[in-house]
């Protein structure tokens, strides 16, 4: 019987109810699939802004609810004509991510990245590194 560990979780110092949560394998698969469709800088490289921005968005949670859904909903409430998509509270981060097409997702990431400061981005990147470490060099 194989048992998996629970997803790693780190609280944001600035907000008691906000967490950075390690993504599941399925969420990362959807994340990589979404990135494949982004415009390429050259061959298989995409703009780091989109990689980091989307990684921040899918790892952020408000309690147990994915921030990505809440963010999409808040954009929808601000202007439903520009942001037509909205989500229910039970939608998972993966379901939300897979509901976007590339242009819509690009706009969401642009809006998110432009709305947070450099310090917040660095704080997020540092926290995400604790739950989703960069690939380690292989020994021997």
């Amino acid at each position: 019987m194989i048992k998996f560990n629970p997803l790693k979780k780190v609280a944001l110092p600035s907000n008691d109810n906000a967490f950075v949560i390690e993504p599941s394998t399925g969420l990362v698969t959807a994340f990589l699939q979404a990135l494949k469709d982004f415009p390429k800088l050259k061959e298989d490289q995409i703009d780091a802004r989109y990689f980091t921005g989307l990684r921040n968005l899918i790892c952020l949670f408000d309690g147990d609810r994915p921030f990505l859904a809440q963010y999409a909903n808040s954009l929808h409430q601000s202007d439903a004509a520009v942001w037509p998509l909205s989500f229910s509270e039970t939608d998972t981060a993966r379901q939300v991510l897979e509901a976007f097409d590339t242009p819509y997702l690009t706009r969401i990431i642009d809006t998110f990245v432009d709305s947070i400061g450099v310090t917040q981005t660095e704080e997020l990147v540092e926290l995400i590194r604790q739950v989703w470490p960069d690939r380690e060099p292989v020994k021997n």
Partner: protein
């Protein structure tokens, strides 16, 4: 015809989706169960099979043995795909009996040993 031997790489799990299916068939689990797995654990297994050459074929056990081996002493450093043979000690801790190293490393180590020996003679 491709050469067959112990150094043949068995699988190349470079594609995430392919590797999800590989784990499904290996562990008899549904795709949804593997997709619910923490990504860090998934990466451990993927790394094991990406770098597997001639160590033990049980990735679950290799990961556990390497973890125990590394936590037993701060000086120890072993990645799961290096575990080749292991034994259980009386206190139920794992002991690594054989560590798999790539021939290139072995040759380099041997070469450096010769260099050191020659240096010793030259002194």
């Amino acid at each position: 015809m491709a050469r067959q031997g112990t150094s043949k790489k068995l699988i190349t799990p470079d594609d995430e989706q392919w590797f999800v299916l590989f784990l499904c068939s290996r562990w008899g689990k549904y795709k949804s169960e593997i997709e619910a797995m923490p990504y860090s654990e998934f990466c451990q297994h993927r790394q094991f099979w990406q770098h597997y050459r001639w160590g033990m074929t049980d990735d679950l056990m290799a990961i556990k043995v390497a973890f125990d081996y590394n936590t037993a002493s701060r000086k120890n450093s072993l990645v799961p795909h290096q575990v080749k043979q292991w034994a259980v000690q009386p206190d139920y801790a794992f002991k690594v009996l054989t560590k798999a190293i790539k021939p290139v490393t072995a040759i380099r180590n041997g070469f450096m040993a010769i260099v050191e020996a020659v240096k010793g003679v030259m002194k």
